[in-house]
Amino acid sequence: MLGLNKKDTFLLFAVAVLVACAPILLNPFPEGSAMAQFNAGYPDLMQRFVIFGIFAVGFNILFGLTGYLSFGHAAFLGAGSYAGVWMLKLLTVNVIPAILISTVVAGLFAVFIGFISLRRSGIYFSILTLAFAQMSFALAASVLTPITGGETGLQTSLDDPRILDGANTSGNIPAPNLFGLEMSDSLQINLAGWLWTFNVGYYLAGVVLLVAFYIAIRIFRSPFGLMLRAIKSNQQRLTYTGINTRPYMLACFVISGMYAGLAGGLMVAMDPLAGAERMQWTASGEVVLMTILGGIGTLIGPVLGAGLIKYFENIFSKINENLLHQWFAFLPDGAEDFVVAIIYPFIGKGWHLTLGLMFMAVIIFLPGGLVELGQRISRKLSRTSGDDQTKSTK
């Protein structure tokens, strides 16, 4: 289907089902129950899952296929965000032009940075991209304030021109919408205690994720993708056979940058605000973490990694000490305090520590990330069940 083989069609289909059912799947606990705070099925977080999923899928096209580690990918996300907000301000609050333009602007930005950075490889490439991203960040936060809003960030305001929209009479800042459907609109269904929120913005981002994911699959399976893998395994040999790798690398870098811009555009479509901190190198580091945690060079890995990190950031970090005491209240007093004292540094505000440890563990023991973990487990399971079969035939 759609030019994909059976396995990939199944993968795309599975992702589509997951995206469609996420508001239900991510809310496994009834509203008001003690576990309800582990519910991740609220629109803001689900949008972030999907948007960072797109960002990580794009990053993986560069790092996973070619092995070029860019430490400045957030610059494209930031550039896309700014372009998106400007479209919302100048043109119309319909999100379609904003998303398209942010992708294009990030792409152009990537052409420029990629053209220069790709002259070098290895750590030099990482440092060059890092230098460009830090420069963009510093400029966006200071000198470019008229364009970027400086440290306060760029947002829509009441007296923006919005030349395509009619006169604004409501007296409120119009919210981003898709042909009248506001991004923050949602349908809430309360079913026997379970509260499910189906949000317009989330489903828009979800559809975009599916398209982006489909394109990523096609790139992975195309001759172009094969060429990129060849660059990863031995660029020198490729050069000796008379192939100029630069255009391939640049194309890959630009595609990857456009994914980041697309994510940036979706971000401002959900919440029309862009700040310089989106370009900082910690943001670039975050997407590296997502991709590695999920499984580098795999299709589904980056999406899983993005989901995991965002879940930690938003849910795990909210667990506080009192709650821990509640959970371990069944233990004798001394033991309860002891257990809480041991666990506490790793959760709540300390979730970064857990993230760092998890990340190190993945690099050391599981270079393939969560996907490799899944494969190992399923292989083990199938082997044991296979053993059962051989036994039963005997």
């Binding site: 092995g67 580690l69 220069i116 002259r119 070098r120 290895g122 750590i123 030099y124 990482s126 440092i127 060059l128 890092l130 230098a131 460009f132 830090q134 420069m135 510093a138 400029l139 200071s142 000198v143 470019l144 190198w281 910690t282 580091g285 590296v288 590695i292 540094p345 300390g350 970064h352 520590l353 993230l355 760092g356 440890l357 990340f359 190190m360 690099i363 050391i364 270079p367």
Partner: protein
């Protein structure tokens, strides 16, 4: 003229911090071939060694002073640091006052131990892995170290004071025969520069003039041959890692009065230090020092008011701009050797 000298001086102290971190990074890269993204965290750990040390020194016990009364008429409770009791009041106070320089003595063994543990426990397993994996695992380690420090010391900056003898500034212009008041420079910064110079000189001399250093240099040139000669090169490289960690730590200790330590200072310095290493040329010790000082001076020149008026924002990007220009025109950096990191 006085402006130029002032900016050079301003650049030197920051530049020497860059140079010290870059020196350690280059040592690790040159010996072990590992790109250490946790080196900024080592700098930060050094700074927090100073914090810990000064806290240990000011550990105090409460005694009741019957001769004085507080406002309620009760006997006054006075916190007396233990060092006062041990060394007498005057010496004790001096020790507390000098806690930052004294912390050097405490930091060296601690940082060497941390470095050795890090190398034996983690980095050792990454020699055969690609550079990207080394970068990533040390990046993860940096996050972990940073969060541990944040947990124990909090997220706020912790102000540290230089010894009182070095408070204030001196008139550098008058010393070299210019108008008094033209170049005023804080004492501590010039001390930092001298300290960095001594440390760099010490490390280079150690490598150049001792048998141990000779073996290490031989190992940097050809590890396998040195190993075949029956020398345990791995152990020497581990010790070099410890020394590199100690250099970064000492740079952090002495930097605390200039910039109050906080948990993410390492990351802030790390990014620039990597730029410094790459500009200087991977694997070249003199290159790292030269590039550190040059970029520090360049940064301070770019922060001059006249230049900012001419090119707004240049002070924030000049280092990266210089790095981009140098990398594109001199692919191996200022003093890079052939064949390092070119695979």
């Amino acid at each position: 003229m006085d402006q130029i000298i002032l900016q050079i001086l301003n650049g030197l102290d920051k530049g020497s911090a860059y140079a010290l971190i870059a020196l350690g990074l280059t040592l690790i890269f040159g010996t072990l071939g590992v790109v250490n993204f946790a080196h900024g965290a080592l700098f930060m750990l050094g700074a927090f060694c100073a914090v810990t040390f000064s806290r240990i020194l000011s550990l105090s016990h409460t005694i009741i002073d019957e001769s004085k009364k507080d406002f309620l008429g009760n006997p006054l409770k006075v916190e007396v640091p233990y060092v006062h009791g041990w060394f007498g009041e005057a010496t004790g106070q001096a020790i507390i006052d000098w806690s930052v320089p004294l912390a050097i003595l405490f930091t060296i063994p601690v940082m060497i131990a941390i470095g050795v543990i890090m190398e034996r426990g983690l980095i050792k397993h990454f020699y055969k892995r690609p550079h990207a994996d080394q970068i990533l695992v040390t990046f993860g380690l940096a996050i972990v170290l940073q969060e541990i420090v944040k947990y124990y010391f909090g997220a706020n900056q912790i102000p540290m004071n230089a010894p009182q003898a070095f408070f204030g500034s001196f008139d550098f212009g008058a010393m070299i025969g210019m108008d008094p008041g033209a170049i005023i420079y804080p004492y501590w910064r010039i001390i930092y520069f001298c300290f960095a110079a001594v440390l760099v000189g010490g490390v280079l001399a150690f490598l150049q003039f001792t048998t141990f250093g000779m073996v290490v240099r031989a190992g940097m040139a050809d590890r396998e041959t040195v190993g075949l000669l029956g020398i345990n090169i791995d152990r020497r490289f581990t010790i070099m890692f410890g020394i590199a960690a100690a250099v970064a730590g000492l740079a952090g200790v002495m930097y605390t009065p200039i910039n109050p330590p906080n948990y993410h200072m390492g990351m802030d310095f790390l990014v620039i230090s990597f730029v410094v290493v790459v500009v200087g040329g991977m694997g070249s010790l003199p290159g790292a020092i030269l590039a550190g000082l040059l970029l520090g001076i360049l940064e301070s020149f770019a922060s001059m008011r006249q230049i900012i008026e001419l090119l707004p924002g240049i002070n924030q990007v000049v280092i990266y701009l210089a790095a981009i220009v140098i990398l594109l025109t001199r692919p191996r950096g200022l003093m890079g050797r052939k064949g390092v990191m070119e695979d």
